[in-house]
């Protein structure tokens, strides 16, 4: 380990810029009308975020200093700890409609955020052993079990968005470990089918997308030279879902159905979730090429943006800094993600390599879904924008993961 040569300054700079942008936007948000009443409680979001960033730096240092082998041995322990937290948070009395937080004094801790780290660690651990071949059922079953438990617990909160993050991390990790692309298709297709069917039945009233999807699966399977058994089971699984899902769907209570359709089609509820997306699109679109100017956002100032310091913070950025600012932000994330992937390629440890891919997937998925949501092309899900969104749990997790990346980078030759 040679600190001078192998320390990844690019990652530090990227995450540093991102945090600074985040702070600046959180400050801008704290200048809006509605913020006045919050100040009296625990200081503005800005000062609180500043404190969280301090803790984040500390976390990053710790994650950097401890040799990554320690994480390998602690993977299961942290995973179990997170599961316990997820169970406990479900047993606490609900706050509003969801049970996502531990409230400790002025702090709200979101265990599902930390679970994202835990699943990255535990999958890296399981998949990096010599005997692990992700194309064997023997390997897939434990991996799937490790996936489904936190997925189910988070879904219970209910927080479909975070649950989907787990899937968003798992697939690239599996792929990195040599999982065949066809198998990914196999895994994904029933999910896509269900979405297409519910969407087709309840939102667009158009069954064709599902049909086209089945045909597309067959074409891909043929091109990839799949075994006949594989192709047949693929089609059977998807058509089976096509046949049984509508019956299952009718079993759901109306409010449960509504929850799903709102997720798939926010415009159906213009005053609820749809309202957020419409206002967010107005904010971003009205920002234009170079934005309305820092602190000048009207949508923000007049309180039209919901959750504008957390999940919808990108709308404020897009409004005040425009297309230029938004692209700048995307470039920083792109650099961060590609650095993580390059480290994954360079490092000699199977574990560290898998870890870095998991981290890259985490950032990529969160950024894509969060910005996609504010721009109206991804469903509304409570997924924060790393480093930028206000929130302690998200900030700590992002800083920790960056620390791990730096860790793997300097120890690239170790295994």
């Amino acid at each position: 380990m040679r600190l001078g040569r192998d320390f990844d300054w690019v990652i530090v700079l990227c995450s540093g810029f991102l945090s600074m942008i985040g702070l600046a936007v959180v400050y801008s948000v704290s200048q809006s009308v509605g913020e006045v009443s919050v100040v009296a409680m625990h200081g503005t979001h800005f000062t609180r975020q500043l404190v969280w960033l301090g803790f984040g730096l500390l976390t990053m240092l710790v994650a950097f200093a401890i040799p990554f082998r320690m994480f390998e041995s602690l993977a299961f322990a942290s995973y179990v700890a997170c599961l316990v937290m997820l169970v406990v948070v479900l047993m606490l009395p609900a706050r509003g409609e969801t049970q996502r937080w531990f409230i400790v004094g002025p702090l709200a801790i979101q265990p599902s955020e930390f679970t994202k780290v835990a699943v990255i660690l535990v999958w890296a651990r399981v998949l990096s052993t010599h005997r692990a071949d992700p194309n064997r059922v023997r390997t897939l079953i434990p991996v799937f079990m490790l996936f489904i438990v936190p997925f189910a617990l988070v879904l219970r909160q209910p927080d479909l968005g975070t649950a989907m993050v787990f899937a968003g991390i798992l697939l690239p990790v599996l792929f990195w470990r040599g999982f065949r692309g066809l198998h990914i298709l196999f895994l994904m297709s029933p999910l896509v089918s269900s979405v297409l069917i519910i969407y087709g039945e309840n939102v667009t009233h158009n069954p064709w997308p599902f049909g086209i999807f089945i045909v597309a699966i067959l074409v891909v399977a043929y091109l990839r030279r799949a075994y006949l058994v594989e192709s047949v089971s693929l089609v059977v699984a998807n058509v089976g879902i096509g046949l049984f899902l509508p019956a299952l769907w009718n079993h759901l209570k109306p409010y449960q159905q509504r929850r799903v359709t709102n997720f798939l089609d926010p415009d159906s509820d213009k005053l609820g979730a749809g309202w957020q997306v419409i206002q967010s699109k107005i904010a971003i679109g009205s920002g234009g090429f170079d934005g309305k100017g820092y602190l000048e956002g009207t949508q923000k100032a007049l309180e039209y943006l919901p959750a504008k310091h957390t999940d919808f913070i990108f709308s404020v950025l897009g409004e005040e800094l425009g297309f230029v600012g938004a692209i700048g932000l995307l470039v920083l994330f792109a650099i961060l993600i590609s650095r993580a992937l390059l480290i994954a390629q360079k490092t000699k440890s199977e574990f560290a390599s898998t870890l870095c891919v998991g981290i890259a997937a985490y950032f990529a998925f969160q950024v894509f879904v969060n910005i996609g949501m504010t721009a109206g092309i991804a469903p509304v899900a409570g997924i924060p924008l790393p480093f930028v969104s206000y929130g302690g749990s998200s900030m700590l997790v992002s800083c920790f993961l960056v620390g791990v990346l730096l860790n793997c980078a300097v120890r690239w030759s170790e295994y």
Binding site: T129, K281, L341, Q345, K348
Partner: protein
């Protein structure tokens, strides 16, 4: 601790490139989407953002006033203040209401129930938390705007009607516009929450009275805090036009008090004999139109509608009664114009009964009137004389006479609802009873105004006015035509002139002035009044009391018709009301030419109880 195997190292670059490619595609989608929003569609979203900040508030145009003939305001708008709350979600609203409850006694459960009803009806409109805010609430809201930014004090105009239900049915009332009315009107005339005329003159003259709304553009935050008005986008509302009524409000009030002094349902109308302008008109029992202007509760409306005395029912233009003996004027007109008999000839000797076939028809005076010619028959209201006329008169001859006086249709009064009178013709009976299945016997009752003939007080008052003004059938109206426009048309009644006219005028004058006249006991010293009493037989209860008159007989100014339900015989009740009204009207030289009569006597004259020995 595994070292990466050779396979992983070999495949690595491919898999990394694939992952990078997928990430790049994802980010590429975001870039394209952001480009579309921020560069391509920028203008559109910039407009949305501007619109977002703007709240266009509709400022209702104040409704025009209603004035009486002297210009005095009868109906106007009173300012009242309410506190409204801007809201986005029900939870917002509930939070605000609960927070308010800490300072102001407000039942949050009730308030939210009202909120739900409001939301159902008006959607996202600002909710009136305190529809009737007192000074304390207003000053609290104004002082604590920081804490309750969504609250706003609004002034509203509420329609104000005279107290004591004066002229309630005439003026009508306003109420909230219904969805059907919004849909039925031209676009943007009404929005939910507007008030419009629902009955009476308010409805009839809605187009004149209605103001033109203005708009106030306010910069708003999403939570409803108003930041300021944008003058370039704001316009002031324009008030509606005032309507000038022919009404003499003092006399209107007096007439209402006269009718209200008895519990009996009653209707009265007083016309200007020359123009048909209505000087006073009342219908009792009445309701308080102010309650409607405030927005009546459903239960109160239900009570009003269920009340057996039907206070909502406008007896002026909607209640039809048998015209009874007042109709004898038309029968006399028919006799004279058709020269059926010599009016001076003693046609019958009235012994109190009249035989027709095997049926006995009674005169109202059991002991009989003795020998009767047309004049004495009208003056004494002798039924037997008119039974005899009925025997010999063709159905259609009498019908033509009644039609000449407009009893067959509507008077054309400027009220939204008016019923026609009824004139039975040969065709009418053939249709109702069948050809040849009815006899002349029906005409006996018709000739005393008791059969199938029906009329409102408007028909009867107009008939009297025609006799008074020399044969012109006027169109009764409340609202004076705007200056410079054509006055309402008058129609010449054929043959009501010369000796016929003179005979009818003399007969009506004799009813009051001759000692044997049925209304002699209600004559007013110093004022010549011509009148006619009537008793409408009522199968459901006591007789209705009719009286119609005009005065002064020499130079007629006003004509009136009064009907008091279930008040007994003839003019017992209605004639004294007329006497009181006319005494007041012509008192102290108000209208009466020549030296005023002693005000003390005139004041004392109106007595509402019939004096003993009074004849109908």
């Amino acid at each position: 601790m595994a070292k990466r195997d050779s396979k992983s190292l070999v495949e690595g670059p491919f898999r990394i490139r694939t992952l990078m490619f997928i990430a790049a595609v994802g980010f590429g989608i975001l870039v394209v989407r952001l480009f579309a929003l921020q560069v391509v569609q920028h203008e559109q979203y910039a407009q949305f953002a501007r619109d977002n900040q703007l709240q266009r508030e509709r400022l209702p145009g104040p409704r025009g006033f209603m004035r009486d003939r002297t210009g005095r305001i009868v109906v106007d708008n009173a300012l009242h203040l309410e506190v409204v709350m801007q809201w986005r979600t029900r939870a917002d609203a509930e939070r605000a209401v609960r927070a308010l409850a800490a300072y102001i006694p407000v039942d949050s459960v009730m308030a939210m129930a009202r909120f739900d009803a409001w939301q159902k009806r008006y959607g996202r409109m600002a909710f009136p938390v305190f529809p009737d805010a007192d000074k304390f609430v207003i000053s609290f809201v104004r002082e604590n705007w920081m804490q309750f930014p969504s609250l706003r004090v609004e002034s509203r105009l509420r329609r104000r009607y005279p107290d004591a239900s004066v002229a309630a049915h005439v003026l009508g009332y306003v109420g909230e516009v219904t969805n059907e009315e919004i849909a039925g009107a031209a676009q943007d005339v009404y929005v939910a929450g507007d008030f419009l005329g629902k009955a009476g003159l308010e409805r009839q003259y809605e187009d004149e009275l209605r103001g033109t709304p203005g708009q106030r553009a306010i910069e708003m935050t999403a939570s409803g805090t108003a930041l300021g008005e944008i003058p370039e986008l704001s316009t002031a509302p324009t008030p509606g036009r005032d309507v000038m009524m022919a009404l003499d409000y003092d006399m209107q009030e007096y007439l209402d008090s006269l009718l209200a002094a008895r519990p009996n349902p009653a209707a009265a109308v007083v016309l200007d004999v020359e123009t048909g302008g209505i000087i006073a008109a009342a219908s009792r029992p009445a309701y308080d139109p102010n309650a409607f202007a405030m927005g009546l509760s459903a239960s109160l409306v239900g009570d009003l509608l269920k009340d057996p005395s039907k206070p909502m029912f406008n007896r002026i233009s909607q209640a039809r009664y048998a015209p009874a003996s007042t109709f004898k004027i038309i029968v006399a007109y028919a006799i004279l114009t058709n020269q059926l008999i010599d009016p001076g000839r003693v046609l019958v000797y009235c012994d109190g009964t009249h035989r027709f076939g095997n049926r006995v028809f009674k005169c109202w005076k059991e002991e009989g009137h003795g020998g009767m010619n047309l004049m004495s028959a009208v003056v004494n209201s002798c039924d037997v004389y008119f039974y005899r006329i009925g025997e010999m008169t063709d159905v259609d001859v009498l019908a033509a006479a009644a039609t000449a006086f407009g009893f067959d249709g509507k008077t054309g009064i400027d009220l939204p609802i008016e019923v026609s009178g009824n004139v039975p013709t040969r065709r009418y009976y053939d249709k109702r009873l069948g050809k040849g299945r009815w006899t002349q016997g029906l005409m006996l009752n018709n000739s005393i105004g008791q059969g199938e003939y029906l009329a409102t007080v408007l028909h009867v008052a107009r008939m009297t006015a025609a006799v008074a003004n020399g044969g012109w059938l006027v169109r009764p109206h409340f609202v004076l035509p705007p200056e410079g426009s054509v006055p309402p048309e008058r129609v010449r009644i054929p043959g009501l002139e010369g000796s016929t006219l003179a005979f009818l005028q003399r007969a009506m004058l004799n009813v009051v002035e001759r000692s044997d006249g049925t209304a002699h006991w209600t004559r007013i010293p110093g004022l010549e009044v011509a009148g006619k009493t009537g008793t409408a037989q009522n199968p459901h209860g006591d007789h209705h009391s009719w009286y119609t008159a005009y005065a002064p007989a020499g130079k007629p100014e006003i004509a009136l018709a009064i009907l008091v339900e279930n008040a007994g015989h003839g003019g017992d009740v209605s004639a004294p009301i007329a006497r009181a009204f006319m005494a007041e009207y012509f008192r102290a030289g108000r209208r009466l030419e020549g030296p005023p009569s002693n005000p003390e006597t005139s004041q004392a004259a109106p007595s509402l109880t019939p004096s003993t020995g009074g004849t109908p």
